[in-house]
Symmetry: C2
């Protein structure tokens, strides 16, 4: 592997000159610049990333911490990855993917060994053991998900309260007075998936405010039973004219459930889900939904993170942000005036 010394020798200049030629940090004569470029070309020289990191204390790598659970397929995760990865590259950073079960330990490891200039935490729970680790670290971090303690970190998330209100409001305006909300399985909530109850609680409050009856339920522990759960809910609440889904698997199962019951959306039942447009597209979901915009959240998190990394002292004094993205309803025609 060619080193900067090899390039210098071939070009007949010093190593520092090669370095400056590559970084453009000082002006060089046409002649020297040309000789260096030729030598680089000839030797196929690429700077060694490790050596550069050691000299500059900058790795140009971002850590991406994802939490996986055996009982989750996490279909939105991929979109987060893409949003983070693409944005990072556009800003000159690579992404180190950390998916260890023990998130706090993994975070501590990559941070203290200086493998990364900053981190993005995905799937942040309300009480998330990774957050205090990050708060102690010298590198900045951006979170996707809303923890109880947001000090010293930048936070991005969908405004799930607003999403809950939006879903209820939308159907109330169409004349519906009795709704059912099916959320993720309860174990998602138990491990700190605060977004589930943030949406649910807000939907409940909005329902009360508007005089709408709202029945709420969690998805079954095993997604295989989700069709049955939907059947049970519709059986239990025959007066309900609207179904709200905060559960991707329920969305994919719903067409056959409705078909089995001889129901059609929106004629017999109005339906609103909450998932990403990529998810809707891939699984051909014919329902209106609140867009959860995972790619956008990933992008926002990385932008803010890189800004903090590169602004150095200036950024350190800038206040940290908590940005809750307003949900947008993508109307696919699965809701209509109450029959």
């Amino acid at each position: 592997m060619a080193t900067i010394g090899d390039v210098a020798r071939v070009a007949g200049v010093s190593r520092s000159t090669v370095s400056y030629a590559l970084s453009g940090k000082r002006s060089l004569s046409e002649d020297v610049r040309g000789r260096v470029a030729a030598a680089v070309e000839q030797l196929g020289y690429t700077p060694n990333a490790g050596a550069r990191a050691l000299a500059t204390s900058q790795t140009k790598v971002l850590g991406l911490l994802a939490q996986f659970y055996d009982d989750e397929f996490a279909p939105a995760m991929m979109q987060y990855f893409l949003g983070v990865s693409n944005t990072a590259r556009a800003l000159g950073y690579d992404v180190l993917l950390i998916s260890e079960p023990d998130g706090p330990a993994a975070l501590e490891r990559v941070l203290s060994s200086r493998m990364v200039d900053g981190v993005v935490l995905l799937n942040v729970a309300e009480q998330d053991a990774r957050v205090p680790v990050l708060q102690q670290a010298s590198q900045p971090g951006a979170l996707v998900g809303l923890p109880a303690d947001c000090r010293g970190v930048d936070v991005f998330d969908l405004d799930f309260e607003e999403a809950g209100r939006l879903m209820v409001e939308h159907l109330h305006r169409l004349g519906h007075r009795e709704l059912v909300l099916l959320s993720q399985p309860e174990h998602v909530v138990e491990r700190g998936g605060a977004y589930v109850w943030r949406l649910q609680d807000a939907a409940r409050e909005e329902a009360v405010r508007r005089g709408v009856v709202l029945h709420t339920a969690y998805g079954p522990p095993d997604q295989a039973d989700v069709s049955q759960r939907i059947h049970e809910l519709l059986d239990a609440h025959p007066g309900a004219t609207g179904l709200l889904l905060n559960n991707e698997a329920a969305g994919t199962a719903l067409p056959s459930v409705l078909s089995a019951r001889g129901l059609r959306a929106p004629d017999d039942l109005s339906v609103v889900g909450r998932w990403s447009s990529q998810f809707a597209q891939y699984f051909c979901l014919p329902y209106s939904f609140v867009e959860s915009a995972p790619d956008r959240l990933g992008r926002m998190a990385v932008r803010q993170l890189v800004k903090r990394i590169e602004n150095g002292a200036a950024a350190a004094s800038e206040p940290h942000v908590v940005r809750l993205v307003s949900p947008v309803l993508d109307d696919r025609g699965s809701t209509s005036r109450r029959p």
Copy 2:
């Protein structure tokens, strides 16, 4: 941030002694070992990964190259990631996630800058521009997917030919004589997704061999039309008693299509898919399927890759492998004797 020099000072030993104490590469007195441990503890010392990489020429990082396409949701991708990431960590490696659209350039970049000790290529197409880049590199690589040219790389993939034969054989044994196979959209094939026709061609040959009529079709370019495509196929081939799916979206859409037609599996139609068990579980797919085992393939690829990285000279002489994993049919009861 504490350095090895700080630890040495606090422990009252030399920096090399600290290094040896940490690596265990030479025996030290109880006393010294204890003092070093105490100093490390007291200072919260973690070795700087970049400095270590520079000194050892080993980054302990693996590159993971994934190709994403706008028209794909790639539900299996996540399982590959998990298989790769978990196995890598278990073997002491971190994973750099590379998802740039220009795969060959990205590969060249991380390889020549020595950011990684080796790479795993996902989604390898038959003619894959990343493969020649890898073949020129000094680091080893493992592929998931079967390229035309396998020289100098280790290759892992599901045996899609065998999968195609297995699906046909299974239904033929149950007395079925006319089948329909719905594959991925054609654009997946066009960009080199050889696995699509590897399965399809083998299924065709097996059908001919067994005297079974096999109708084949690609999924629609837009997955949103997949339900309609299934309807069309069933309309066009009323005599078909078995449906084979090499298309995840078709699997999730099928329940409502069957329901709409008043059909039931396996009473009216036998169904066999090809996807991962995680996919089947999350989307509650009630059909028998050939397990595509993405996590297992990821694991195998990483194991082989790490073996090559760490065996050094010994591994270089070892022949490269092309391992096609035999498919396994997970019987969920969606097939039965021909009515």
